[in-house]
């Protein structure tokens, strides 16, 4: 009898333990966690007195990365994971947000005259190759031609990529300014990472399944080619202006508060910040506008260089935007995540106060017309003395890695925000129905 009871107890304990393990694993981490037992993982745990007490009681000190939004991030070796499991703490696997993405081995970097940076032809070749290799996950959309007849391509990444599903959209833009070569690489690498890791990484799979991610790595192909072939420090597009000068500053050509003053942009065609003859006078900005108008976007990042800074609206005025706190919080979170990767801290703040006044720029337009969080990320280095618009080729990967963490987090935030908004809409609709019925009853 006694033996039977003991056996039952052991069995029920085992069942409970398995159940507990299963319950934790469903929320905390995928079943494939132990497929690579020797690899470390990055996890986050909700910060509260109980979790703090447990975390500080480990036999060996844990490797803390950062703390943000009431969650503690740490690097967990296999033994640390076992400890966390046995402690009953619920933790979330964050490794995908920090995993380095190596350049795809199949990138078409033949030459181009600019080292391993992508020229226009190399970029087009790589995008086409990617779309051919993963047709169910990504497709290319031709947004139109630049002034000199080059294609402006957008890469869409999603499950059911050929459908326009009711999912949150995200837009990542690169190279409005020709000399900012690094701003082509970061969004391109992001696209490669999402597509190539979809089958390998459940977190990436989840993001791609629940969102429609758009990437335009090269908004200004003519300018980039001129920067490679003729003059490295070229900024604008290649519009031949009526006074014989060349170029419109594409990041002053967007239609929100375009030309509101001559401090945030210039009416002088020879100026580096020449805004053009009219809002969206340039085919390159019209390409972005038209894509934006065809889909629902939750957030936008426009990559630039340099300064190592995250900027949000407004650029045209020092008055804070009405969603200032949200923008601030998102920028801070991205900055923290970026710093956690290689220790490089990106400052953040309102564009007009952190750098200078701008009008007609991408993020003011996206936020001003749609009310969505829109960020300009000025990539490293921090100043002209550390390279300015020059980044060493070996810096491309680290810069991408830290921005990957931020981009994935923003996508996750957007998905959560979209779901919350959806459920709120449904809840309001539900509440409306009894009211309507009541009114109808009253009328009767």
């Amino acid at each position: 009898m006694k033996e039977m009871a003991e056996k039952k107890l052991k069995f029920s304990f085992l069942l409970n333990f398995i159940f507990f393990l299963g319950a934790s694993s469903v929320y905390a981490f995928p079943l494939s966690l132990h497929s690579n037992p020797e690899e470390i993982e990055i996890v986050s745990i909700e910060k509260n007195p109980i979790s703090l007490a447990i975390l500080t009681s480990t036999p060996e000190p844990l490797d803390f990365i950062m703390e943000t939004e009431s969650r503690i991030y740490l690097v967990a070796k296999p033994q640390d994971l076992n400890f966390l499991l046995s402690s009953g703490l619920i933790f979330r696997l964050e490794t995908p947000f920090f995993a380095p993405a190596r350049p795809s081995k199949e990138m078409s970097l033949t030459s181009g005259g600019n080292g391993i940076y992508h020229s226009y032809n190399e970029l087009i070749a790589d995008l086409k190759k990617l779309a051919e290799k993963f047709p169910s996950l990504c497709r290319l959309e031709d947004l139109g031609r630049s002034l000199e007849g080059r294609q402006i391509l957008a890469l869409k990444i999603s499950d059911n990529v050929n459908l326009n599903e009711p999912e949150p959209g995200f837009l990542f833009l690169g190279c409005h300014h020709a000399r900012e070569w690094i701003s082509v690489e970061v969004p391109l690498y992001l696209g490669l990472y999402l597509v190539e890791n979809y089958a390998l990484n459940p977190r990436v799979q989840n993001l791609v399944n629940e969102a429609q991610i758009w990437i335009i790595p090269l908004v200004n192909p003519d300018g980039l080619e001129y920067s490679i072939k003729f003059y490295r420090y070229w900024r604008k597009n290649r519009r031949l202006n009526s006074d014989g000068s060349f170029g419109v500053d594409l990041n002053r050509n967007y239609g929100f508060n375009w030309g509101i003053d001559n401090r945030g942009s210039s009416p002088n065609p020879a100026s580096e910040t020449y805004r053009g003859m009219a809002p969206f006078s340039e085919p390159e900005t019209r390409a972005v506008r038209d894509l934006f108008s065809n889909y629902q976007f939750q957030a936008l990042i426009s990559y630039h260089s340099y300064s190592q800074i995250i900027l949000f609206p407004w650029g045209f005025t020092v008055t804070p935007a009405d969603k200032y706190q949200l923008l601030f919080n998102l920028a801070k979170r991205m900055s923290d995540l970026m710093a956690s990767v290689h220790g490089r801290r990106y400052d953040f703040g309102q564009a007009s106060t952190m750098l200078y006044l701008t009008n007609g720029d991408t993020t003011d337009w996206a936020y001003g017309t749609r009310g969505i969080p829109a960020f300009t990320i000025e990539l490293p280095p921090v100043d002209i003395f550390h390279g300015g618009f020059f980044n060493s080729e070996r810096d491309i990967q680290p810069i991408f890695e830290e921005n990957l963490a931020a981009a994935l987090d923003l996508i996750q935030w957007g998905i959560d925000n979209y779901k919350f908004a959806e459920s709120e809409t449904k809840r309001k609709e539900k509440n409306l129905i009894p009211l309507i019925i009541q009114r109808e009853r009253k009328i009767k």
């Binding site: 033949t110 181009g112 005259g113 600019n114 002034l147 001129y226 420090y233 202006n241 580096e272 550390h386």
Partner: protein, 426 residues
């Protein structure tokens, strides 16, 4: 942030020997907005364009220069081995030549000049002076042979310097230059085929280089950027020539140069340095490129009368529509069309007795219509040339000059070339 080049204002300097020109920058206020779509078209002087004209047919010594560059029909120098080797059969048993020339050309749009970075309100000149040709020809066992070396193409551009100065200190400086040439070694052989015909073949082995550099500096901040693109060039191609001496006074000539590839080993070096922080960034690239030169065919004729007058004409077709090139492994599109170059010339030959010595004096006059291959703009050089030759016994000194005026691009480009050749005939 970065200092805009477009805000630099410079005084304009006259052309000097090394063509160090300070480029005048001015702002033109936009009075009549134009949403025109026309974009950057370099036109005449793309990076690989030879100086003076895209249409190169071998080497042009002084006598030919004075004759509107007609080289397919008159055998008056061993240098014709580069152009119509069959004419070697009409030379003396042994001959030689030495040639020097001065070439000047005006450019409007090239490199960073008038393409958005530096603006000039006038055309800018470049000059190249060179001892650019030498060779000899001889006959043996019924064959005629020629060997020579000459610079057949120049790729020079005006050197340009611009500075931004404030309170007597240079804040920013940019310097641009491009230099290059193609030197061709020539081996030719020819033979008469009966009384009327002569056939010749020339093998040309070309080697050269081109170097283009943009140097920028911010002296106060001790920041320097060098952007260098250079390439070594080589080519091997043949030219076939046929001459028909129909009568003593009437000759016809035909030359064919098949299409060939000028191979380029390209190298790019981009360097940034900031002395205060010790930052040094270097981005390099290399590639095997090529320039597909078009096939060309020339047909020429000459007629002499009264023993002292000679008329000649030449038409040369260039198959530019098949022109292709790569730049760091990427195919570059040049929107080119086929063209026919036309030339007409007249010569007058006289003898002079000076100090009881007999001198042979030849005067020449020629005109040439030289359409350039670009579809946009439709551009043509109209050239006037003249020449003078003074012969004494076994030697002859040739002088030739040509002046070309371009029409069609709106830039009114000009070219000048003067050459002096010493010939010996034994």
């Amino acid at each position: 942030m970065f200092l805009s080049l477009n805000r630099i204002e410079k005084p304009f300097l006259e052309e000097v020997k090394m063509l160090r020109v300070k480029v005048s920058i001015f702002f033109c206020l936009v009075l009549f907005p134009c949403l025109c779509g026309a974009q950057l078209i370099i036109g005449q002087y793309e990076e690989e364009a030879p100086l003076k004209s895209w249409n190169i047919s071998g080497f042009i010594p002084a006598s030919s220069l004075g004759r509107a560059e007609i080289m397919t029909i008159i055998a008056d120098t061993p240098a014709i081995a580069f152009n119509n080797p069959s004419l070697l059969t009409h030379l003396t048993p042994f001959s030689f030549y030495l040639n020097g020339s001065i070439t000047r050309a005006s450019l409007f749009r090239f490199g960073p000049v008038n393409t958005g970075v530096l603006k000039s309100n006038q055309n800018i000149w470049v000059k190249v002076t060179a001892f650019d040709g030498a060779g000899l020809a001889f006959k043996a066992k019924g064959w005629s042979f020629g060997v020579g070396v000459a610079i057949t193409e120049y790729y020079d551009r005006p050197s340009v310097t611009a500075e931004s100065v404030s309170a007597g200190k240079t804040i920013y400086k940019i310097n641009f230059y491009q230099r290059g040439f193609l030197r061709t070694y020539n081996l030719a052989m020819a033979r008469k085929l009966g009384k009327i015909l002569a056939f010749g073949l020339t093998l040309n082995n070309s080697k050269g280089n081109v170097e283009r550099k943009t140097e920028e500096s911010w002296p106060l901040n001790r920041i320097f950027i060098d952007d260098e693109k250079r390439a070594s060039l080589k080519d091997l191609y043949v030219r076939f020539g046929l001459t028909a001496e129909i009568k003593d006074s009437l000759k016809m000539g035909l030359v064919l140069e098949p299409a060939h590839k000028l191979k380029k080993r390209s190298h790019s070096s981009l360097r940034y340095s900031a002395e205060t922080t010790g930052t040094l960034i270097s981005i390099e690239d290399e590639a095997d490129d090529f320039i597909q030169k078009p096939w060309q065919v020339s047909l020429a004729g000459s007629y002499s009368f009264d023993r002292s007058w000679l008329f000649c004409g030449e038409a040369t077709f260039f198959n530019w529509s098949k022109y292709k090139l790569t730049w760091f492994s990427e195919e570059i599109n040049r929107n080119f069309r086929n063209i026919i170059r036309l030339a007409l010339a007249v010569e007058n030959r006289n003898t002079l007795i000076i100090f009881r010595q007999t001198f042979f004096l030849t005067t020449r006059l020629g005109i040439q219509i030289d359409p350039q291959p670009m579809k946009i703009p439709h551009s043509t050089f109209y050239s006037l040339s003249s020449g003078l030759s003074l012969g004494w016994k076994w030697f002859r000194l040739d002088f030739g000059t040509s002046w070309g005026q371009e029409k069609g691009s709106g830039s009114s480009l000009q070219t000048f070339r003067s050459a002096l050749t010493l010939n010996g005939f034994f």
